[in-house]
């Protein structure tokens, strides 16, 4: 599996995720500069975490309009899988590849801590190495992770089983107490209708070795690798 990791000015977790992927795929990722107009041939496009364009105006807004995104959108429409983490998720929403938007955390504060995610859809190409209901411990690090969409959109997401991760407690209970940023219905990650574009706020790439506190994120990259090998 060959991944293309898009680097915007202000992106800062590109190395973290590139290495998490190459650790399972055995192949180094291609780093792609935002100014380029074409994404090199790849099996997966990754929009990493960070503060693209300083997070100014709205998080992900300016990245969504950068030259490279035109080709990312084209390739996504053509079926190339896309993974957006944190700032990447915000960018996918701003680019219209995923519904909704990520607002300031309800606390108005940046939050960096370990959280628990409940896997609500383990049938996607990004999560098939998990079981439905699994609880994964991963790190969050964001100031704008408060997922918002209108009720219709939310109902549709639920109906189509497009909510992939929700904030939960260590027992997997999804409730107000485990909703760290005010996201509607505790949503931490969603997938698009085609099942090939996933956006999530937490950082599985920082949860792939015990030395960092958790290996629960690794199954996600194994899912992607195995799905793409099979394909």
């Amino acid at each position: 599996m060959r991944a293309a990791v898009i680097v915007f000015p202000g992106t800062n977790r590109e190395r973290d995720i590139a290495e998490a992927i190459s650790d399972v795929s055995g192949r180094p990722s291609i780093m792609v500069w935002h100014g380029d107009t074409e994404v090199p041939k790849s099996d997966l496009i990754v929009l990493p975490g960070g503060f693209s364009y300083g997070d100014y105006l709205r998080t992900g807004a300016m990245a969504a309009h950068s030259p490279i995104m035109r080709d990312v959108i084209a390739k996504a429409k053509a079926g190339v899988p896309v993974l957006g983490v944190c700032n990447g998720f915000q960018t996918l929403c701003e680019a219209g590849l995923l519904p909704g938007v990520l607002l300031r955390n309800a606390s108005l504060k940046f939050i960096c801590k370990d959280v628990h995610l409940r896997v609500d859809n383990a049938t996607t190409m990004f999560t098939n190495r998990y079981q439905k209901g699994d609880v994964a411990q991963v790190v969050v690090a964001h100031g704008d992770g408060n997922y918002f969409a209108d009720t219709e959109t939310l109902d549709k997401l639920e109906a189509e089983n497009q909510v992939v991760f929700r904030y939960a407690n260590s027992k997997g209970e999804v409730n107000a107490a485990s909703n760290l940023n005010g996201s509607q219905r505790n949503i931490a990650g969603i997938i698009d209708g085609t099942g090939r574009i996933l956006g999530m706020m937490p950082h599985p790439e920082n949860a792939c070795e015990l030395a960092l506190g958790s290996t629960d994120g690794r199954a996600m990259f194994e899912s992607i690798a195995s799905s793409l090998m099979a394909a």
């Binding site: 000015p9 202000g10 800062n12 977790r13 190395r15 973290d16 290495e19 100014g35 975490g49 960070g50 503060f51 364009y53 300083g54 997070d55 100014y56 504060k109 940046f110 939050i111 960096c112 801590k113 790190v139 690090a141 100031g143 950082h203 790439e205 920082n206 030395a211 960092l212």
Partner: protein, 731 residues
């Protein structure tokens, strides 16, 4: 040159005191232009010239087997083996943070990061040492939220993990908070960059953000005593742009890989003025600038304004001739300004031209090293008497007192602060805030850097020399606790008005304390910063020499944390017990007094205990380690229990001290280790062989802290009081 009249008012407004202006006239042999006056005023400010402190700083130990570069460059450099170097420094941004907490703190972080990457290092960790006023002071909440948000956002947005620090609340800082930021970077020993502009006819290149009127007189403000008028200085507050800083880091590191840079230096306090004169002076050359070529953000800027501007995110470089085009490409790629604004000369003079007029023509050497040097009068701080344990009343219940103390402003959890910091970006943070020292892996290796910040101002106030020795030793101990070899320190000396002999006496004592401890521990000072005049209307801060310690963990599989998790493990206390309650938190919080001498430091015992503990960690004999600091033994145990999420059975004290003195005494050189019953005995034995007392103080397990004859303290009860205070204050 602009012939504006230099009146006594103008001279005073530029902070010249006593014979300083006459001395300037003597150096120049004529009256200075306005621009020249401005240039000298910042170069001779306390902030840039260290005129009150230089004499004493010279006495610090700054060499050692690991030292590659000591004080004098932008940051200190130490050798961590395998061709790797660790570059670090701590710096204050106190006054700006009081005036505008968010921007003041943010630009403080930005400034210290530039000091580090200007030497060729990739910043990999930030720490911060904060002192705020009384929790109930009307300004405190506003200052805490602004400072923490500013530090957090700048580090988060630049993708540098903020991994540790310390925070105090004390009414003595009500009108003078302290914001000290520390940055640690990594480089290759053969790829370190310096600021000496060696060579004539070389292009002087300006990169980064455009120059505006930001922070003009910031440097003079940063060392001017506060008064009601200082609010008028507000418009000089600089605004930070972490986005540009991030691009600047990437662009500079990319250029540094290309071998075209002869010298590089960030534009910090006193912007263009200090960077140009320092680079020229270190290179033994002259320098000529044409300010028309400086990228400008605002119209009609004068030479005076451009030379004194403290606009952020700017660097100055001396490049190899002919390399400008390829260098420019890099900065264009990153969307940053790049301009050749002058060249080095053989005249030994700094010549500043603007719109065809020579605005300044000054001798570089005089500019750089003719600054006044004051050996200010000082009086030693009177020694306080030792307080005997018996003199401090016992609590009704030790666990009750513990609970009160763990929920106090002094000891309550700082989680509310550090959860606003991205401590995980770059994927190498092995120990996050919450332990004794942060641990950050050297990427792709099995080794790691350990770092921490410490000082206990109430100790230093009571005895500057001993209290500062204690601060150095506490950082050393915190590094030992994670299994590191402590290597070197940076210091940030925050004091009141040095023109008062008793304050100068505190400074002198403090420097002596650092010197003594660092020599004994082979733990040199490689960088530092002095912030004086932290004083408002005659009321000064307590002496606050913040120490930043850095160590190396050779093998990350051989380290330790404070978390006691292993049920049935025993807790062993190593170190001498004198029940020292003078200046202790117990005395402050429970007895509501702050009296007597601070706990004495015995450097030989420290070394013995430290070496033993580190050996035990590396032999894999212990499951948890924590040193005894604020609050003494029982607080150390409580912190280990909270971190591990387990209860502890405390064994009743049967020695000859009053029990509360044994539990709460702040004797130095002590560690609490967790190990299996069998190993615990061997450990105690090994300590005794070294002449160090050791005893079993408790047993891990259950869900409460228990002590025979007292009502148990349930762990979640303890956690609630410990975690709720700061959110309660800020909520």
């Amino acid at each position: 040159m602009s012939a504006a009249k230099i009146t006594p008012e103008v001279i005073a407004a530029h902070g010249f005191k006593g014979d300083e202006y006459p001395r300037l006239l003597e150096i120049l042999g004529r009256e200075p232009s306005r621009t020249e006056l401005g240039i000298f005023s910042v170069m001779w400010s306390e902030h840039c010239s260290y005129k009150s402190s230089r004499f004493w700083l010279k006495t610090l130990p700054t060499t050692g087997k690991c030292v590659i570069q000591g004080p004098g460059e932008n940051a200190g450099v130490i050798d961590i083996g395998d061709g790797d170097a660790c570059i670090f420094k701590m710096e204050s941004h106190n006054h700006p943070s009081y005036i505008e907490p968010y921007q003041g703190a943010a630009t403080g972080v930005g400034g210290i990061m530039r000091d580090v990457f200007t030497m060729g290092a990739r910043p990999v960790a930030n720490l911060n040492a904060l002192r705020f006023g009384a929790p109930d002071h009307p300004k405190t909440k506003h200052l805490v939220s602004g400072v923490v948000a500013g530090i957090g956002h700048y580090g988060n947005a630049t993708g540098v993990p903020t991994v540790g620090g310390e925070t105090n609340f004390d009414k003595a800082y009500n009108n003078n908070i302290l914001v000290n930021a520390m940055c640690i970077g990594l480089a290759k020993t053969d790829k370190i960059f310096y600021s000496a502009a060696k060579g004539v006819g070389l292009p002087v290149v300006y990169v980064g953000s455009k120059t505006g009127r930001d922070g003009i007189h910031g440097a003079t403000m940063a060392s001017a005593e506060f008064d009601e008028k200082s609010s008028e200085k507000r418009p000089t507050v600089q605004v930070g742009d972490p986005f540009t800083e991030k691009l600047l880091i990437e662009a500079c590191l990319e250029l540094m890989a290309m071998d075209v840079i002869i010298a590089i230096q960030d534009m910090g306090a006193a912007g263009l003025t200090s960077s140009t004169s320092e680079m020229a002076d270190k290179g033994g050359v002259g320098i000529e600038l044409n300010l028309d070529l400086v990228p400008q953000r605002e119209p009609d800027m004068t030479a005076y304004e451009m030379m004194l501007s403290e606009s952020q995110e700017r660097m100055l470089m001396i490049l190899k001739p002919g390399s400008e085009p390829e260098a420019e490409k890099v900065f264009i790629k990153w969307g940053l300004d790049f301009a050749v604004i002058g060249q080095t000369t053989d005249t030994g003079r700094m010549i500043i031209k603007h719109k065809g007029i020579v605005e300044a023509d000054l001798p570089v050497d005089k500019l750089a090293d003719s600054a006044p040097l004051y050996e200010r009068p000082w009086v030693p701080t009177p020694k306080a008497a030792r307080i005997l344990p018996e003199w401090v009343t016992a609590p009704n219940s030790n666990l009750g007192a513990l609970k009160t103390m763990m929920g106090s402003p002094q000891l309550a959890s700082r989680r509310w602060i550090w959860e606003q910091y991205d401590s995980m970006v770059r994927g190498d943070t092995l120990q996050r805030p919450g332990g004794d020292a942060a641990v950050v892996r050297v990427h792709g290796t099995q080794k790691a850097i350990a770092a921490c910040c410490d000082v206990t101002p109430r100790y230093v106030l009571a005895d500057p020399a001993m209290g500062t020795k204690q601060a150095v030793v506490e950082t050393w101990r915190n590094l030992i606790c994670v299994g590191a070899d402590p290597l070197a320190i940076t210091d940030n000396m925050n004091f009141a008005n040095p023109e008062r002999p008793e304050i100068m006496g505190q400074f002198v004592g403090s420097v002596q304390g650092i010197g003594e401890a660092c020599r004994a521990l082979d733990y040199p000072v490689v960088s530092g910063n002095v912030s004086l005049y932290n004083e408002t209307q005659g009321v000064g801060i307590p002496p606050t020499p913040a120490i930043g310690g850095v160590g190396l963990i050779p093998d990350i599989s051989k380290t330790a944390t404070i978390a006691a998790k292993q049920s049935a493990d025993l807790l062993i206390l190593i170190g001498r017990e004198e029940g020292h309650l003078g200046q202790s938190l117990y005395q402050l919080i429970i007895a509501e007094k702050s009296e007597g001498a601070p706990p004495p430091v015995d450097l030989d015992d420290e070394i013995k205990a430290g070496n033993l503990v580190r050996a035990l960690i590396r032999e894999g004999k212990v499951s948890a380690v924590h040193d005894c600091s604020d609050g003494g033994l029982i607080v150390a145990i409580a912190e280990m229990a909270l971190a591990g999420g387990t209860g502890v059975e405390l064994y009743p004290y049967e020695g000859k001290l009053p029990a509360h003195a044994a539990w709460f005494g702040e004797d130095q050189g002590r560690y609490v280790l967790a190990a299996s019953a069998k190993v615990a005995e061997q450990i105690a034995e090994r300590a005794r062989l070294l002449g160090l007392p050791a005893r079993i103080v408790g047993k891990v397990g259950g869900d409460a802290l228990t002590l025979k004859g007292e009502t148990a303290l349930p762990l979640d009860e303890l956690r609630r009081v410990h975690e709720s205070w700061l959110p309660g204050l800020m909520g």
